[in-house]
């Protein structure tokens, strides 16, 4: 056979993508062609199966190409390609360790594509991928599969939550962790769960259950994965949410401007429409109520059992092979659980004793964990030896300043949570350190002092008590809370809100021309007009049930800051609140006020549902009350600090940095430290440049053009010459006209004028 010239047409027709394109356009006419190529795929597969590991180079069209081809057209010929997905799955599952990496990736990709086309379902895909993910020795395949599994789960949950799939996947992952606790396979379950948790795709208790089991595994990697999920997973989720909310903000104004200038085309108009739609969608999403996502700790079943097993399995167990760092993480988790759910694990406190010496590595973390594990239901006698030990080991004149301040700080943190753990002599001893020369120690000691002025002033020496505490003690207002005693549930600052509402009511009355004194009768009359039944607010001093009518026991007030509710306009919505406040007015006699206050507050909270507007007002009032303008600035600052302390959320962990916090005050900062502190958080500045240059660069980076002034300055000299010459030759009349036009233009505001704006 001689050398044959290959015609251009024939050459084109030998390419598979072209055929694919044609088939996609008209599947029925090209059926035979597809069948031929499917036959080709079949025979190539047969050849491949002879020696899967040593993939032979099969000429111009490879097995990969054929797989690609068939995958893309599988939806056009469903009968012909019935076996194709199962064949792909079979090749991948049986031969994945020795397949060529290209082919392997192609098969994975083809399965994903088949899933997208709806030929196989997600669960089938996941069932194929999971076993391979956990067994394959190839790192690249693992990353690929992990990525594909995640994207599959994300896409199938994108429109609405796919509960069956999620449940099935979670069961697979749970089994993966539970089936063999010593194997490192569980890491994949941990990774996937964590990622999906982060993206808020899985927010249910089952996902937390997987992590719980991971924490109780025997493999170090799995354990640390599970533990770090509990310690950091929620924070990660919040961060991602913040990130995603402010990313890729479309600049609509810029786009509109460009639309006005650039050539108009259908494509651009469509792009503009899309942009407007996305912006609107985003705004709508912003306005939607925030999805209520519980943190992992709150979704945990049986936290007591979990914390106990964690403690006994990993910490108490002498045979556990964890290193200190991992143990610390677990300790953090256990103590966090104890603090949050108020659990009782008594052996935990004796466990701490061994570690409370200044020489112990990362002792501040231990101290923080101890403080975290303390709550009001821990018996003080369990904590007392610990505090004693901290005081002995850390707080002494001989100890370094950092050590002493850390110790004092830790004691304070413990005592915040359980004030009864302190005894009088020790406290008085520790308070003496407020005279220390070192600033850190002094501050820490003062912190302890101010704490006990609040919670147990009688334990302090008289001269340390301070004015408020002494007065409180005398009037028996401040009494020490006893073990197990709980404060009455109340909404902080509710009395302020109530007072404010009263005042508003009063003012309105005056506006309406009624006298403030005669308000009670009027109110009743008005309410009768509105058709409201008046109930006698029987004030039960015992704090028992309050008899309220079923039809008006709960009213939703919609008071707003800007628009005050006027009773005439919206009687049915506001009258409930109004009535209750009126009744309060009724009783309000100057002498009785102090004793009745608490009770009245509770009636407001139980009678009305506070709206978000109410809450906002409440917060505002609280802030006003707290910043007492009469106080000197130093005291004001201290109060603000205390407020900040109080506002720390109960869910937030206590970390070593908070224990160490004051230690930084002990050492004198060097010049380099100060410079570093000043520079911290500020952007890098390459070289000193003029403000003009910086502004110019900023403008350039935003894609804005230069000003007219700048253009005039940069204009080529030769270009200006001609105009200048012409100017010289102008007659006087002409010159006058030009000048006049210039003035006129200035008045109009430029050549085009600014009438429209």
């Amino acid at each position: 056979m001689g050398r044959r010239k290959v015609g251009a047409l024939e050459k084109v027709e030998a390419d598979l993508p072209n055929l694919q394109y044609k088939i996609r356009r008209d599947p029925s006419s090209y059926k035979t062609d597809f069948e031929t190529q499917y036959g080709q795929y079949e025979s190539q597969r047969e050849l491949f199966m002879q020696a899967p590991s040593s993939a032979t180079d099969t000429g111009i069209i490879s097995f990969c190409d054929l797989i690609d081809f068939v995958t893309h057209l599988a939806d056009c010929y469903p009968e012909t390609t019935v076996d194709f997905p199962t064949q792909m799955v079979a090749i991948l599952t049986t031969h994945h360790p020795d397949l060529e990496s290209d082919l392997r990736e192609k098969i994975v990709g083809s399965l994903v594509l088949l899933r997208k086309k709806g030929i196989i379902d997600s669960s089938k895909l996941l069932q194929t991928f999971f076993p391979i993910l956990t067994t394959t020795p190839s790192k690249s395949l693992r990353t690929l599969l992990y990525q594909k599994i995640l994207s599959n789960l994300r896409s199938s949950n994108s429109k609405n939550t796919n509960h069956p799939l999620n449940r099935a996947t979670q069961t697979i992952l749970y089994d993966l962790v539970v089936s063999d606790r010593t194997s490192p396979k569980g890491v994949w379950a941990v990774k996937i769960t964590r990622e999906l948790w982060k993206r808020q795709i899985w927010t249910d208790a089952k996902a937390v259950g997987i992590m719980k089991e991971a924490c109780l595994a025997d493999n170090v990697k799995v354990i640390s994965g599970g533990v770090s999920f509990f310690l950091g997973g929620d924070k990660e989720r919040e961060e991602l949410e913040d990130e995603s909310s402010d990313e890729d903000a479309l600049d609509l104004g810029k786009m509109k401007h460009q639309m006005g200038i650039n050539k108009k085309s259908k494509k651009k108009a469509r792009a503009m429409e899309n942009a407007v739609a996305t912006v609107k969608k985003k705004e709508r999403r912003k306005k939607q109520p925030h999805p209520l996502n519980f943190s992992a700790f709150h979704l945990l079943h049986d936290p007591q059992g979990f914390a106990e097993t964690l403690f006994s399995k990993h910490l108490q167990n002498a045979h556990s092979r964890l290193n200190l760092e991992q143990k610390l993480l677990i300790l953090q988790l256990v103590t966090r659980l104890v603090g949050l759910h108020k659990l009782t694990i008594l052996p935990l406190y004796s466990y701490f004793i061994k570690y409370l010496t200044p020489r112990q590595p990362s002792v501040t973390s231990f101290l923080a964990s101890l403080a975290q594990a303390t709550h009001s239901l821990i018996p003080p006698e369990d904590l007392e030896p610990l505090i004693q030990k901290i005081a002995n080991e850390f707080v002494s004149e001989a100890a370094a300043a950092e050590v002493a301040s850390a110790g004092l700080n830790a004691i304070r943190e413990i005592c915040v949570r359980q004030p009864l753990a302190m005894n009088t002599t020790l406290l008085q001893d520790l308070v003496m350190y407020k005279k220390s020369k070192d600033k850190g120690v002094m501050m820490a000691s003062k912190g302890l002092l101010s704490l006990y002025r609040e919670v147990g002033a009688d334990m302090l020496k008289k001269r340390d008590r301070g004015k408020d505490a002494t007065m409180g003690l005398k009037s028996h207002e401040k009494t020490e809370r006893r073990f197990g005693e709980e404060a009455l549930g109340e909404i902080k600052g509710l009395e302020l809100l109530e007072k404010w509402k009263e005042q508003e009511q009063h003012r309105k009355r005056l506006e309406l021309g009624l006298t403030a004194e005669a308000n009670a009768d009027d109110a009743e009359i008005e309410e009768d007009d509105d058709g409201w039944e008046v109930d006698e607010d029987d004030t039960d001093d015992s704090g028992g049930w309050i008899n309220v009518d079923s039809d008006n026991d709960i009213n939703i007030s919609d008071s707003d800051d800007d628009k005050r509710p006027s009773k005439r306009i919206k009687p049915e919505s506001t009258s409930g609140v109004v009535r209750s406040t009126c009744e309060d007015d009724d009783k309000e006699n100057e002498g009785k006020e102090t004793t009745d206050l608490i009770h009245e507050v509770s009636t407001l909270a139980s009678k009305t549902i506070l709206t978000p507007a109410d809450h906002a007002k409440l917060r505002e009032l609280q802030l006003e009350a707290s910043v007492n303008k009469l106080l000197p600035s130093s005291q004001r600052k201290r109060i603000a600090q205390q407020q900040a302390q109080l506002q720390r959320h109960a869910d937030d962990p206590l970390t070593a940095t908070e224990i160490e916090g004051l230690a930084s005050l002990s050492k004198k900062a060097s010049r380099a430290d100060k410079i570093a502190l000043a520079k911290d958080g500020k952007p890098e500045r390459a070289a000193h440049r003029s403000t003009q240059a910086i502004r110019k660069e900023k403008k350039d980076s935003q894609g804005k053009s230069s000003t007219n002034k700048e253009k005039a300055r940069k204009k080529n000299f030769l270009m200006t010459l001609g105009k200048a010459k012409g100017k010289q030759k102008k007659s006087l009349v002409e010159r006058g006209r030009v000048l006049k036009a210039h003035v006129e233009r200035g008045k109009r505001g430029g050549k085009r004028g600014n009438k429209g704006k």
């Binding site: 056979m1 050398r3 044959r4 024939e10 027709e13 030998a14 390419d15 598979l16 055929l19 044609k22 029925s28 006419s29 090209y30 059926k31 035979t32 062609d33 069948e35 031929t36 190529q37 036959g39 080709q40 025979s43 190539q44 047969e46 050849l47 002879q50 032979t56 180079d57 099969t58 000429g59 111009i60 069209i61 940069k714 080529n716 000299f717 030769l718």
Partner: protein
């Protein structure tokens, strides 16, 4: 101002003609390469210091390894070397066929025409007895080639199919997958695979990459040959007289140890489980049954349609019909 002037100057420089001056050397062009250096030594990447030429055997092995070379020419050259070093039907090859074939067969799907042509030549030189044992592998490549997208590769595959049928058609049809799969492939190529419902007077035979109907009669001819090999009973070479000659020993060959390789292959003791398609059908009655069940209707329809076309195609179709008649009509055989 400065920048624009500079740009202008730069632009001008590109189009300036270099001035030639008397008594001065010619200015060098921009793409001038300096070749004035002199090397003291020349380093060769590989040097062979043997004085003896490599033996024919070594060269054979070397060229065998070159069959996977990237360059078309190299592959073709190596093939032609191998062809020339094997005399037609030579018994003792430098390398056994079992080593040769795995290297040769992938070239069936090679992109270069010259390589494939050379390959066919080489294959025809191989001793048929040795090739017979590898029929399964060969049939796989034939099937892959027949359905290939490139027409030239299809033609080569048909040539190879022709060659195998010449060597031993019976072995081809009885090897695993050799009967059902091969027939299916050929029917797919002929577009005879369609359901009866869709079979109208027009067929969607606008197959891409088919240049004219040159290969159609050829395919039909091969189908005829295949059917003949699979369905027609060969008259045994021993005539009655010859048997009488060896009188007391009747049907000795059935009691002798088998002379073919892998005698119990049909039991499939060691391979993976096979489905109906990839099984081997050694018995002629099995093949007939399969053919009747799966293919007869389609082939008959196809043949009748092709016959109506007339010309080369019609003639070839007539040959197929004849083979069918011979194969499926037992009575006719007995008459012979």
């Amino acid at each position: 101002m400065g920048s624009s002037a500079k740009k202008k100057k730069d632009k001008k420089k590109d189009f300036q003609k270099p001035k030639l001056k008397v008594g001065k050397p010619r200015p060098k062009p921009t793409n001038f390469t300096d070749t004035s250096f002199k090397a003291k030594t020349i380093a060769l990447s590989r040097q062979s210091l043997t004085t003896v030429t490599p033996s024919a055997n070594t060269q054979f092995t070397h060229h065998l390894s070159l069959l996977t070379s990237r360059s078309d020419n190299q592959r073709r050259e190596s093939l032609s070397y191998l062809t020339s070093s094997i005399a037609p039907h030579q018994k003792d090859l430098p390398q056994p066929v079992a080593v040769l074939l795995p290297k040769l067969l992938p070239l069936t799907l090679d992109g270069s025409n010259g390589v494939r042509a050379q390959l066919v030549k080489l294959l025809q030189n191989l001793p048929p007895e040795d090739v017979r044992d590898h029929m399964e592998k060969i049939s796989m490549y034939i099937r892959a080639g027949i359905t290939h997208l490139a027409t030239d590769i299809r033609d080569t595959a048909l040539e190879i199919l022709e060659w195998t049928l010449d060597i031993d058609g019976k072995e081809l049809v009885s090897c695993p997958g050799g009967w059902i799969k091969t027939l299916k492939t050929i029917l797919t190529v002929l577009a005879w695979n369609e359901d009866a419902k869709l079979w109208g007077w027009t067929s969607s035979r606008a197959i891409v990459g088919r240049s004219g109907s040159k290969s159609l009669p050829r395919t039909l001819g091969l189908l005829a040959a295949l059917l003949r090999a699979g369905l027609v009973v060969r008259p045994s070479p021993d005539t009655l007289e010859a048997q009488l000659h060896r009188f007391p020993l009747w049907n000795v060959e059935y009691h002798m140890p088998p002379c073919q390789s892998n005698t119990y292959g049909y039991l499939n003791l060691f391979g993976s489980a096979k489905d109906q398609d990839s099984q081997g059908y050694e018995n002629i009655n099995d093949r007939r049954r399969i053919f009747r069940n799966l293919f007869e209707g389609r082939v008959a329809r196809g043949v009748s349609a092709a016959r109506r076309e007339g010309g080369d195609v019609g003639r070839a179709a007539a040959a197929v019909a004849k083979a069918l008649g011979e194969g499926l009509n037992d009575d006719g055989l007995r008459d012979e």
